[in-house]
Amino acid sequence: MHNILTIARKEFRDGFRNRWTLAITAIFAALALGIAYFGAVTSGRVGFTSFGATLASLTTLGSFVIPLISLLIAYDTIVGEDDGGTLQLLLAYPLSRAELAAGKFLGHSAVLATAIVAGFGIAVVAYEVMMPEVRTLAAWTAIGTFIFSASLLGASFVGLACLISVLAREKARAAGLALLVWFALVVLFDLVLLAVLVISRGNDIERAIFPYLLMLNPIDVFRLINLVGLGNGAGNAVFLAMAAGHVYQIGVLYGALAAWTLAPFALALRAFQTREI
């Protein structure tokens, strides 16, 4: 554990030193504030609007931006050390490969969680200041759920980035692979599901399968956690149509997101054990 924490601490400090944490926080805060303020501009209004619509917009924003940033900060976790020549040195230390990977995973996840809490937190505080009527326990619970699930989503993509980083032999290839994974999970996956839904006009089999297919994508699990409670009214009709009215247990959704956090990292560990340096 000592080695894991030593490495995690270094990665976390590097995040601040390289201004990654600050930059990501600023990006999250700017985008979240922008969406909260200008989110209703299509309906002819500017300014902070309903809580549900704002949370739905933040969820949609998070589902695009958090995976991308997670992959960007962690795609070179292992291959970057290898390219830079430091991996050989580190692995010659009394340190297991699992400890090295776990330390890096924890460190990157902590950087991301800090940026999510700070970045989205700034937007939430601004929203709450401007909209005193939504200072309710339900709203704070929803915000807490959003920030916690967003951090878990970030960690799951850090795990995926670790896997990419172990499998790729070059940094450039890892970067390309990371973008491909982002495109497949953020854009392609839902498009394919929607296309199938539209073409088949939602028969019974699909209605039975689709709610579970959504679990195969951590981004959809994140959206389900945050959007199911809001209902169709917050502009989520298209996404929720894929859930076909299925009633999800929140514990199952968190379990799925936790599995998405641990499974890619476990695969990364396995691949790292056999990687030749």
């Binding site: 000592h2 080695n3 030593t6 490495i7 270094k10 590097d14 030193r17 390289n18 830079g84 020549g85 430091t86 050989q88 040195l89 580190l90 692995l91 010659a92 230390y93 009394p94 340190l95 297991s96 030749e276 340096i277």
Partner: protein, 313 residues
Amino acid sequence: MLNVIEIADVSKRYGRAVVLDHVSASVCRGEIVGLLGHNGAGKTTVIKLALGLIRPSTGEIRVLGALPDGRDGRRLRRKIGYLPENVAFYGNLTGREVIAYLARLRNVAEAEGLALLERMGLHDAIDKGLRTYSKGMRQRLGLAQALLGSPELFFLDEPTTGLDPIATQQFFELVRGLREAGKTIVISSHLLAELEAHLDRAIILKEGRLVAQGTPAAMKKAAGMPVTICARLPGKPNGLLGEPWLADLPTAPRLKERGMLELAVPASRKMDVLRHLMNLPTLADVTVKEPSLARLYATIGKTGGTEGDGSDA
């Protein structure tokens, strides 16, 4: 003496490429051993195998009695100091931060790391970013980190790269000090002339095959390498060429400018030839050059050698 490293019939292949081909060698405790060979001879592969960074395709390597890629690998690496070829560190950190980080990974006090930086002459650069370090400074930092935790066994891959002559001399003094303290040092290098005076034994690799191992003296003897004797004989040394003690030398004497006679003499005839030269009234000067490790390496390189050539182990 106990064997610290035992390499038993080890091969390493990457696909069809064979980088080590049935190599067997050993290193005893308290020795300074040179791992010698051209680029691509397999030196770094041997070190990586010994550190457990890669696994042998066939055969077995044991370091301090343990399998480096086995369960004991982590405990074993606590006893090993390693300086990689082209050592790299984190450019965004200072010398102090790097040594503190690496000291923590070795469970060693940061103060020990800082003391090693001072010992390596990096006192003034401790708080400077590594981006500002010269190659020699990075190499000295690399040596400092290899000494963290006072390991029993050292693998130093091209350790004098980037060091100036004074730092190189200090490095070899350090290595001798380590040996006197009972440590074992394996140095991989292609700078044979620089290394020769400091080695107890050498392991010579060529294209992944072991071509020789043993003490430099034993290897030279086994390779039948001649000693070069240069005698200055003002006047006309041509007359000497018919002397029976010169005529039966395997290589014909060479007459050079200003009465210099160069003789390639088998080691077994050295004293005999020297006695004859000393009896010559015209002899003005004489020098004896023992065959160098570089020459031995070149000879073995040409002949290809055979496994275990020159071994006195």
